[in-house]
């Protein structure tokens, strides 16, 4: 590696990508620089997006959708009133992402493009049906994040293209906005299993809508329409959640690594659902 380019505008970025099509592009560097140091990647040149103000910031669009620039650092999302009010499930996940300096450096776009099975922002972005905005010099396209991520570390990002923003419709129809992560410790811990969940619950306690997504228990975020279908139309009760949990345990495909065994992950991914039984009485379980 020799060159590190620091474009100050999108125009400079396109020029840099044109001259160095083989360059690795990064924002916070909290994943890429570790991979380089561990000898997993050997880029000859790097393009850092840190100075691209055009890719930073959180704004509300006319239809109420929230647009988050890809190079917005996690810390900025945590303190943003729009995100706090409109996207609590995402904010809760970011609260436990890495550590304060990692959140100062790392960005939402970086977390998505790294496409780690353990990425903390991905389960919330799946349940929120977020879309990624992909930009190249002469064009923009938008894709559901669920389609953009295709495998561990693999996305549909093409050469010459960058992830420029995330578009998220505010989930106003849901009552429970839940995220829980199980790790070996609270901070600086890669997730062993995590669950993001949105529930719409009627006044008499019937689940009207449910969307669920798990991290770290499959090669990419795991979703389970069958478990959602068991819950929809049923009373929000421990008994129903146990039924859904059994389906989840059957269908996840976790691995054993230095943090946990596959069997532990299988059990925990089901158990994470049971917390939803408490959401009315315990705000920490998703208010």
């Amino acid at each position: 590696m020799n060159q590190v380019l620091l474009p100050g505008s999108l125009a400079e970025l396109w020029q840099a990508l044109d001259i160095h099509p083989e360059a690795s592009v990064y924002a916070g560097g909290t994943d890429l620089l570790v991979q380089i140091r561990n000898g997993l990647r050997h880029p000859t040149s790097l393009i850092c997006l840190d100075r691209l103000e055009e890719l930073k910031g959180i704004s509300r669009q006319e239809n109420g959708t929230i647009r988050i620039g890809s190079c917005t650092a996690h810390t900025r999302i945590l303190v943003d009133p729009l995100a706090q009010k409109g996207l609590p499930v995402l904010v809760r996940a970011i609260e436990g992402l890495g550590s304060p300096p990692i959140r100062n450096m790392g960005t939402i776009g970086g977390n998505i493009c790294t496409a780690s099975p353990a990425a903390d922002t991905l389960p919330p972005l799946y349940v929120l049906d977020a879309e990624v905005e992909l930009r190249r010099e002469h064009g923009v396209r938008r894709l559901p994040v669920r389609d953009f991520i295709v495998g561990p570390g693999i996305t549909l990002l093409q050469k010459g293209e960058i992830l420029s923003a995330v578009w998220i419709r505010q989930p106003v129809e849901y009552h429970a906005h839940h995220f829980e992560k199980v790790g070996l410790r609270n901070a600086l811990a890669c997730s062993v299993a995590s669950l993001a969940a949105l529930l719409r619950v009627s006044d008499d306690g019937i689940i009207e809508k449910a969307t669920l997504a798990w991290g770290s228990v499959a090669p990419t975020v795991f979703t389970c329409p069958e478990a959602e279908q068991i819950l929809i139309g049923a009373p929000l009760s421990l008994e129903k959640l146990r039924q859904a949990a059994a389906i989840v345990r059957r269908d996840v495909s976790p691995i054993t690594d230095l943090r946990a065994t596959a069997e532990y992950r299988r059990v925990v991914s089901g158990n994470l659902l049971l917390r939803l039984a408490q959401w009315r009485t315990n705000p920490a379980a998703g208010a």
């Binding site: 590696m1 020799n2 060159q3 590190v4 380019l5 620091l6 916070g28 560097g29 909290t30 620089l33 570790v34 140091r37 561990n38 790097l46 850092c48 840190d50 810390t75 609260e95 890495g98 550590s99 304060p100 300096p101 990692i102 100062n104 450096m105 609270n186 901070a187 600086l188 705000p283 920490a284």
Partner: protein, 167 residues
């Protein structure tokens, strides 16, 4: 590559490879060895510096990224000329928050970042604010106490405080 930035208040210009890690630039090229390298992978906080006032990990930044920035290392908190220390450093001494000292520069800078964002943190907020900095000696109790004391001089740092509403 020529890089110009402000280091502890002084304009500095260096000629270094663009991909030199900032921690190496600071320690090896500029001789400021107060910044420590622990894990080299963003998991321990020993290499914390302030970049434009915000805590960052110097092991995960490349020299080119410093262009035009203002950085503060532990050496920048207490100018050697007058012998005075930063209030957080004073509190660490006062409360015995240092044992081997390896994590201390990072802890102190992380605490300064925290206090700038939240000038009156409770102990839980301090623990969260320092959660990116590992200490293998102290058990953290005295470090948290020191930061609480620095936040409010005169307050008994061991005394439990009223719990704030969750964030």
């Amino acid at each position: 590559m020529k890089i110009r930035f402000s280091l502890n208040g002084s304009t500095t210009q260096v000629e270094v490879p663009a991909d030199r890690r900032v921690v190496d630039l600071i320690r090896e090229d500029l001789g400021l060895t107060g910044t420590k390298e622990g894990c080299g992978a963003g998991e321990c906080g020993a290499c914390t510096i302030l970049v434009d006032g915000e805590s960052r990990l110097s092991c995960l930044m490349l020299a080119a990224q410093l262009q035009g920035c203002s950085i503060t290392t532990i050496e920048g908190l207490a100018p050697p000329e007058d012998g005075s220390l930063h209030a957080v450093q004073e509190a660490f001494i006062e409360h015995g928050a240092v044992q081997c000292g390896f994590c201390t520069p990072g802890m102190v800078l992380a605490a300064i970042d925290l206090l700038k964002r939240n000038p009156d943190p409770d102990r839980e907020e301090i623990r969260r604010g320092l959660s990116g900095n590992l200490c293998r000696c102290t058990g953290y109790v005295k470090i948290v106490g020191a930061v609480a004391a620095a936040a409010a001089p005169g307050r008994n740092p061991e005394a439990p405080r009223e719990k704030k509403e969750s964030l």
